[in-house]
Amino acid sequence: MFDVVSFIPRAVMQSIPLLFGSIGETLTEKSGNLNLGIPGVMYVGGICGVIGAFFYEQSCGGAANMNGFLALAIPLLCCLLGSLVMGLIYCFLTVTLRANQNVTGLAMTTFGVGFGNFFGGSLIKISGLDVPSIALSATSGFFSRHLAIADRLGWFGKIFLSYGFLAYLAILIAFVSAYILRRTRVGLQLRAVGENPATADAAGINITRYKYLATCLGCMIAGLGGLYYVMDYACGIWSNDAFGDRGWLAIALVIFTIWRPNVSVWASILFGGLYILYLYIPTGSAGLAMKELYKMLPYLVTIIVLIISSMRNKRENQPPAGLGLAYFREDR
């Protein structure tokens, strides 16, 4: 029997990193930057949080001595700072130096994934501390803490209230960014920058500032996805390459949702479900091998969506017209 009550919370937990990543990338793309470095950014966000938490835990010497606020604030700050630096690198190269966005993004992913895995694998060695492995269960406890009332509400509590605060933050950010994009002056101007930078520039909008702001903010939001993954989903245990290809899926989600963060909430839960569906499908004797095939599902669905949306060529559903192009005012 398919267990919906256990499936949905797992799908949601699976979806949160994707949601953070896709909101971040949506904001970035709305400014006309195609950031293929998001997978790297999410790794950096995750590992920076881990590094912060690791040193804080070590300095406290035990979960009992840890201050709840600091245990959350230090990894959060480290994560945001790390992702911000990645965003600044991307912006400096593509906006200020007008480099090719695809190549810059891929280089960022190489760098970011390498950075994550390197420090994940060598943190203990470099810090010279005598601990067996990076298991930040104490910090993770603070991140995954949910309302006590959830446990008493049966299936309702499990499906709606059983998540750590970052999950609710993701959904909040999704709706807030959707509102900003659609209804505010800043959102209007950001859309204009991504659609037609020359026009926005002529209208007196500071293109460089908008691109930097949107891209850096986008990177910071995406970085939170990495932090959520390691602190909440993976219970504070960093293992190399465990984050996998979620960053790329997040980028695919942006197209899937036609650049709408609010749609991303539902779409990412759908993707999260597809991602773990193989655990719920009875596969019989050839089970192990078949599971590998089921893991293809999110990618196949993305491909199908990609094809369908390209066939139904609607004006409003197109990517920002300036996506991927560097802007230089004096280009003649």
């Binding site: 505010t184 209007l188 101007q189 859309r191 659609e195 037609n196 026009t199 520039d201 909008i205 003649r332």
Partner: protein
């Protein structure tokens, strides 16, 4: 003009692009309550000069005074703050946004974004000057003239009192132009300073109060419009006397060459672009095609060239001996394979006719690279052809290995036309062959077209400048909304008549 106050004073302005000096120590005054026409050939630096007022470029040297205060205009934002608004030749509008959204874009108004209030204010401006505009319409649904209206309202919405318009009439019908001029005169009477950049003499004479002329980046002089005439202004622009007449020899032995019958074309989204179009183009004749931009000219030429999917109709190629061949449903390769020498100078020179980043020789190869057997391309003969065109048409370029993107508009067009006529065509299609070209280059192109006509080529010339169409073409076909409004002889046709036919099928009554 001494009694008027100067809104803008530009002093010793110099601007360089790499080794090219676009403006060299230019002095220019712009007064309140006047319409100044800024004249000059292409590449004379008119647009560059105005772009320095609107904050797109920053001058390398010199000083700008607005209302007698020295200022530094580093961005369009600075320009707005000083009350300067520019309407660019290529509209600066975001296609997927509405008119209102485009108009409020970039404004720092107090409080939350309120599009309804903005729409009210837009309505008020429209009523004051006589514009027609739907604030909620998306730009991509608009005609060119509607887009221009949005641009002008946008500038007024920001409270600009110095308006610069860069070739505002290039894309308008005569009727729309008249409307625009009325609005501009209203604004002038309202005390605004208005600059229009143009090279159409009759518009300068009809609209402006004063004329300033630039040549090769230098300021040549200015004078009151009522004290000068077209010939004098042209001579000042070019620097030497120019004959303003276009030759039109009588066609020699015209025979039907291309026969189009009941041609109907729809765009990808199902919009009717051409409806039941029929006509015949003869050898040794120039058939002009007039119409508001977007009336189906592009589709018509591309259909003949084999680049357009056609819904119904037929296009026949008729040889001298009367044999017919159907061109419809064949791509350019198949048409060439049938032995039909068809040359096409498209509107979009660097996006379609040529590859901007390739050099002259490689661009010659576009037409010839398939020649010869085997896997490899012949690189020698295209180079020779490029060198021949450079010397025959006096294309100014460092070498044939220069990417064509680096050439000026006139030279790009010479390269393209040169390549297209080098294959000794029997049919020559040209779309806006002189758009954006200066007077000298334009006359070179007219001459080349006339040479082809003399050689017995059937020329189809899509143009926008009615004066030129009336002087150059043997017959003029007028398109109106994708239908043939009429075909009239070029000799004796009047501009008013053609203008009427462009907006109303058959031209309607002579008196409006």
């Amino acid at each position: 003009m001494d009694n008027m106050t100067a809104a803008v004073k530009m002093r010793n302005i110099t601007k360089r692009f790499g080794p090219v000096i676009a403006n060299d120590k230019v002095w220019l005054d712009i007064y309140k309550g006047e319409i100044l026409a800024l004249l000059g050939e292409n590449g004379s630096g008119k647009t560059t000069l105005m772009n320095m007022l609107s904050g797109i470029y920053y001058p390398d040297e010199g000083e700008i005074l607005i209302r007698d205060t020295p200022v530094s205009i580093r961005s369009p934002k600075d320009a707005f703050a000083l009350g300067i608004g520019m309407i660019h030749q290529h509209f600066k509008l975001v296609d997927v946004l509405t008119a209102t959204e485009n108009i409020v874009l970039g404004l720092k108004e107090e409080g939350r974004l309120n599009l309804d209030a903005a729409a009210e204010k837009i309505k008020a401006i429209c009523d004051a000057y006589g514009f027609e505009l739907d604030p909620k319409q998306k730009i991509y649904n608009m005609t060119v003239s509607q887009k221009q209206t949005v641009e002008i309202v946008k500038v007024l919405y920001r409270g600009a009192d110095i308006l610069i318009l860069d070739e505002p009439t290039a894309v308008l019908t005569p009727q729309e132009t008249d409307k625009l001029f009325t609005v501009l005169r209203n604004m002038r009477d309202d005390g605004k300073a208005i600059v229009i950049i143009t090279h159409k003499m009759h518009e300068v004479e009809a609209l402006s109060d004063r004329v300033a002329v630039l040549r090769h980046g230098h300021f040549v002089g200015d004078m009151l419009t009522k004290e000068t005439n077209a010939q004098e202004m042209t001579n000042m622009m070019v620097g030497h006397p120019v004959v303003l007449n276009i030759e039109r020899p009588e066609p020699v032995d015209p025979k039907p060459r291309i026969e189009v019958k009941n041609l109907t074309v729809r765009s990808i989204d199902g919009v009717l672009k051409l409806e039941d179009v029929s006509f015949t183009a003869c050898s040794g004749e120039i058939l002009g095609i007039a119409g508001i931009s977007g009336s189906g000219q592009k589709e018509l030429l591309e259909a003949i060239a084999g680049l357009q999917v056609v819904e119904s109709g037929s296009i026949s190629y008729i040889e001298d001996d009367g044999t017919r061949e159907e061109l419809l449903g064949k791509d350019p390769l198949a048409i060439a394979g049938m032995g039909v020498a068809l040359s096409f100078v498209p509107e979009d020179r660097l996006g379609m006719g040529l590859v901007g980043s390739m050099d002259l020789a490689d661009n010659m190869m576009l037409r010839s690279f398939r020649r010869g057997k085997g896997l490899f391309t012949d690189r020698k003969s295209p180079r020779a052809l490029a060198e021949k065109i450079v010397s025959d048409l006096s294309v100014s370029t460092p070498s044939v290995s220069t990417p064509v993107r680096r050439l000026s508009g006139g030279n790009v067009q010479k390269v393209l036309v040169g390549r297209e006529i080098s294959s000794a065509p029997s049919v020559l299609l040209t779309a806006y062959a002189v758009r954006g070209l200066d007077i000298n280059s334009s006359y070179t192109i007219y001459e080349l077209i006339n040479q082809q006509k003399a050689a017995g080529v059937a020329v189809i010339y899509v143009g926008e400048d009615l004066d030129v169409l009336l002087e150059l073409c043997d017959k003029i076909l007028v398109l109106c909304g994708g239908k043939v409004s009429g075909v009239i002889p070029g000799r004796g046709a009047t501009k008013r008549k053609v203008g009427m036919m462009m907006t109303r099928l058959g031209g309607g009554e002579e008196d409006e």
